[in-house]
């Protein structure tokens, strides 16, 4: 029965939908998990619930506490939704060049947004959040990049849902941000179906982050385990936008721009296969990216815009 006590009960159990029109071969099937169907609008609702539940279990989060988190958007929005219902305050440290809609959503949910220099990307947001946490240790930083609950959320829910709905899966293609989705789903699938291959798609954020002073400012999330992956691909901004359009034009799916990158990676992976089944992830819907002009403006204009505004 589709009747629930809380909006949080709707997190997870998202549908798989065929992207067959985007496959280069009828022998290779591509299915996408529509994470934009989560109530907060993205895959990050899963980790928001899991990280807050885990922190409550160990007594790290007390009633009325303030949560502090670096996020370029979706994790912040998921946390804001959960925090609102559970009575926590939330401060999100976010690069100042992310799409305006993310900031608007955070503010609507009552989160306090602290901006970090956009030129330093998420690395800069992480550094600023760490500094703020040191200044006021009463704030609780859940730190998605290092929190095992991020991986657990996907190991416990996303992975099992994929195997339940698509037992014939041969390859999982996911996007690399914190690496939580790839680590959790990848570990679960490999444990239960050892032949499954796991492919990571890296969004081209490294090209957009212009403000790193040295390579030592780089960042590899502590939860990332390179052994879970079999292949890692990079997809360029222009391709990401093109595939975001193809998702809409050929499949009727209005998805965020990172979905375009991931699906481009899934299609490239499909080109290397004679037959088989790929499962991929569409992390969010297109709503938060309307201001990018991705569907309406000239491709060159959107590509140039993507060098200034972080759509990933």
């Amino acid at each position: 029965m589709a009747r629930f006590d809380s909006i949080l009960d709707l997190v997870g159990d998202t549908p798989l939908v065929a992207l067959h029109p985007l496959s280069p071969s009828p022998e290779v099937r591509i299915w996408a998990k529509l994470e934009g169907q989560n109530p907060g609008g993205s895959v990050k609702d899963r980790i928001a619930v899991e990280m807050i539940d885990a922190a409550e279990r160990v007594g790290q989060l007390m009633p009325g506490a303030t949560i502090l988190e670096p996020s370029s958007g979706n994790t912040g929005i998921g946390l804001a939704m959960v925090a609102r219902l559970r009575g926590y305050r939330l401060r999100v440290v976010m690069p100042d060049n992310v799409s305006i809609e993310r900031r608007q959503l955070l503010e609507i949910f009552g989160a306090d947004v602290v901006l970090s220099p956009g030129a330093e990307g998420s690395n800069g947001a992480i550094r600023l959040a760490e500094k703020l946490a040191t200044e006021d240790p009463s704030q609780v930083m859940l730190f998605q990049y290092g929190n095992p609950a991020n991986v657990d959320a996907h190991y416990r829910t996303t992975g099992p849902e994929i195997l339940r709905d698509c037992p014939e899966v041969d390859v999982f293609v996911g996007g690399l941000g914190t690496s939580g989705t790839l680590m959790g789903v990848g570990k679960y699938l490999k444990e239960h179906k050892p032949d499954v291959r796991v492919v990571a798609v890296e969004p081209p954020s490294g090209e957009l982050v212009q403000g790193l002073r040295s390579l030592e400012d780089g960042f590899v999330p502590p939860i990332f385990d390179p052994a879970v992956l079999d292949r890692k691909l990079i997809v360029r901004p222009r391709e990401s936008i093109e595939w975001t359009r193809r998702l809409l034009d050929d499949c009727g799916i209005f998805a965020g721009i990172s979905a375009g990158a991931i699906v481009a990676g899934a299609a490239k992976t499909a080109e290397t296969m004679e037959r088989g089944t790929i499962v991929t992830i569409i992390p969010d819907g297109g709503w938060k990216y309307l201001s990018s002009g991705a569907w309406t403006d000239d491709l060159d204009v959107v590509e140039e815009r993507a060098t200034r505004i972080n759509f990933w």
Binding site: S122, N123, L215, E216
Partner: protein, 91 residues
């Protein structure tokens, strides 16, 4: 093999400001050796003291991260594009 090497913003100062430089080699490692010979400022930026790829550098041969190919022994072909990117977070 003649390849194109694309440099991230923070390494361009070591290569006279160029975003992209040509280099030769049969593997990514050889290409990097040739690159450092031409632009000594890149010494230590790509490869660490133990001879491995710098921890905070991701290197792509065309679309593929070389850590999941043959690392620095990954073979390159004429016209390949080697992209060097700093490791950054998302999320």
């Amino acid at each position: 093999m003649a390849v194109e090497v694309r440099l991230p913003t923070l390494l361009r100062a070591h290569a006279d400001g160029a975003a992209s430089v040509p280099a030769d080699g049969a593997t990514v490692g050889e290409v990097f050796t040739a690159l450092v010979a031409k632009h000594p400022g890149l010494q230590g930026q790509l490869i660490d003291d133990s001879g491995s790829l710098h921890r905070f550098v991701n290197v792509y041969c065309n679309d593929d991260d070389i850590r999941y190919l043959d690392q620095l022994d990954t073979k390159v072909a004429d016209g390949d594009v080697i992209s060097i990117l700093p490791a950054v977070a998302g999320g």
